[in-house]
């Protein structure tokens, strides 16, 4: 099987995150592999291992689009167990919205499938920076593939993928033929950590760098010019400040209700 896993280098939510510049884009200092992408990578590794792993020709390609620093998300993916890494990077990509991002990623997936076809594209349920969940669906639409989103379990057998999905009001089983785009939730598995062996092995794995020219995309189709939305203003919300803090002396529940009544929340 040939599986492409989309991995994103995102600002660590443990620190304050900032928007800056004319396009109000996210600062990418203190960035890490998006936590939600680790579940997609783990799902890919499990599918590959169940089929005999890399020795049996199974490939798990970690693909990241982003500036120079995004290579760290790929390196971490290789340490965890991806077989190869692909870094789509080009100055013109900066500021791409979901539509432009999906255009570039679709072209990259087609490029990676030029010799042997890609069976599965796996992604996290959302990025932890933009959090729109638009890219998997837009990628599927652009590639003309079925999308199976928010999978909480996943099986691949005989050219078909079967997944469980949990919504608030119901659970469902869905089925699609391969190739397909599948996004997974944080319920699907327990991602593994890189171990010493994995870290050493990663040093021998290759990372291919692709530019827009390599995948046949014009600069004007991506970045601010190619995006279909524009952020026109951004304002930092003033930080919340602490209000009244009391220590319970036996009547805190009553005081809580008094507070709610005063706020007209009862």
């Amino acid at each position: 099987m040939k599986i492409v896993v989309l991995v994103k280098h995102v600002p660590d939510a443990q620190f304050d995150r900032h928007l800056s510049g004319e396009g109000h884009t996210t600062d990418r200092d203190e960035s890490i592999l998006s936590e939600l992408d680790e579940y997609a990578l783990e799902a890919a590794l499990q599918l590959a291992e169940a089929r005999g792993g890399a020795k049996a020709g199974n490939k798990v390609i970690a693909l990241s689009m982003g500036p120079a620093g995004a290579v760290n998300a790929i390196k971490k993916s290789l340490q965890i167990g991806a077989t190869e890494g692909v870094h789509l990077t080009d100055g013109a990509l900066a500021g791409s919205d979901a539509a432009a991002t999906s255009l570039a990623l679709a072209a990259a997936v087609r490029h990676l499938g030029a010799d042997t076809p890609v069976d599965l594209v796996l992604t996290g349920m959302a990025s932890t920076d933009g959090e729109t969940s638009l890219v998997p669906a837009q990628l599927a639409e652009r590639l003309g593939l079925p999308q199976v989103t928010f999978a909480s379990s996943l099986e691949v057998d005989g050219g078909r993928v079967t997944a469980r999905r949990d919504a608030d009001t119901h659970s469902e089983t869905v089925e699609a033929s391969l190739p397909a785009v599948v996004s997974v939730t944080d319920q699907i598995n327990e991602p593994r950590y890189p171990n010493f062996k994995g870290i050493i092995a990663a040093k021998r794995k290759s990372i291919t760098t692709l530019s827009l020219a390599d995948i046949g995309v014009a600069s004007s189709q991506v970045g601010h010019t190619g995006s279909w939305t524009r952020v026109t203003a951004a304002e930092e919300r003033p930080p919340r400040t602490a209000g009244t803090i009391i220590t319970d002396e036996g009547d805190a529940g009553i005081q809580l209700v008094d507070f709610l009544a005063a706020q007209k929340l009862l």
Partner: protein
């Protein structure tokens, strides 16, 4: 005047409040058409008229619910073309956002999600990076697709109700070919509580509950609130994953958020810091949640919550 299209998926016997909100916003932007998937009862058709819909479009196929998203997006794209829509409004559910996503590609239209307000010129307002920024965004394309969060406007019927004509639009034949098929579906047992994402009040519990969500559920029921949970509580299996509030769970923006036995690590804060009023109950006075709480109680939640529940019941009686 711009043509606005509102998508309502399976309205059932009565329109949800969030659908009425979309119709109210649509009227402020232009002439409204509605695309409805599934049954269209006389009552619902009447309400659509009362909210100013000039036309109601229905799909030629009845099986769109058997597939994930793609055929609904194809149907909606066909309607948008026919109606000459320049703005399409959808609800901000996970499925609504994905239909918006695919529709955007089909119409070469900019998509903006998590919208909380729309100006007359189509500029959308939203909050990003877990509520730490508010932004305005605009599509640069002839058509704009917006998914709008619930509880953003008060539903208002039109001053001049209409009698919308109903039209059928063909679902493109290729729409189901490359779509995932839903092979089985099980309804979950309804809790009777409001939906977490849309609720006006949320009572959430965490590690401090030590496995017992009883006090949280009882307070929630006294307040007519939804029940939420921290990741620690859902990971421990004390409550269903659906209840998780936070960066990897749901983002909520209620009038009141009561946090019980949750320390308030940044991932939890990310899911709830746009709540209007935050109340926190925790034994540990050093918990970060107290830095953002409007009213904080350092105390034992097993004492404080039941006392508050009793007091609310007494006052409401």
């Amino acid at each position: 005047m711009a043509n606005v299209l509102v998508f309502i998926d399976n309205p059932g016997q009565a329109l949800k409040k969030s659908s009425l909100e979309l119709l109210t916003i649509a009227r402020s932007l232009g002439e409204t058409a509605v695309a409805v998937n599934g049954e269209l009862s006389d009552d619902v058709a009447g309400t659509l008229g009362a909210y100013g819909a000039a036309a109601v479009f229905r799909p030629s196929a009845a099986d769109l619910d058997d597939y994930l998203v793609a055929p609904k997006a194809a149907f909606l794209a066909a309607v948008a073309d026919k109606a000459g829509a320049t703005t399409v409004l959808l609800e901000n559910s996970p499925e609504g956002k994905e239909i918006a996503a695919r529709l955007g590609i089909r119409l070469s239209a900019g998509v903006i999600t998590d919208v909380v307000a729309v100006d007359a010129d189509g500029t959308a307002h939203k909050s990003v990076l877990a509520g730490s920024y508010t932004t305005t965004a605009k599509a640069t394309t002839p058509v704009t697709v917006l998914s709008v969060k619930a509880n953003t406007v008060e539903p208002q019927p039109a001053t001049a109700p209409g009698a919308p004509e109903t039209l059928t639009v063909d679902v493109p034949a290729e729409a189901t070919a490359a779509a995932a098929r839903i092979t089985s579906r099980e309804q979950k047992v309804a809790s009777g509580r409001p939906d977490l994402t849309d609720a006006r009040i949320v009572v959430a519990g965490g590690r401090g509950l030590d496995g017992d969500f009883g006090p949280v559920e009882e307070l929630a029921d006294a307040l007519g609130a939804a029940v939420g949970a921290s990741r620690a509580a859902t990971d421990a299996g004390w409550i269903s994953h659906d209840a998780q509030v936070g960066q990897t769970g749901k983002t909520v923006s209620p009038q009141l958020y009561i946090s019980a036995g949750i320390s308030g690590a940044i991932q939890q804060k990310a899911g709830m810091q746009t709540a209007k009023v935050i109340v926190a109950v925790n034994k540990d006075a050093e918990s970060p949640v107290f830095e953002i709480a409007d009213f904080g109680i350092v105390g034992d939640l097993f004492q404080v919550l039941p006392q508050a529940t009793e007091e609310i019941k007494k006052r409401k009686a």
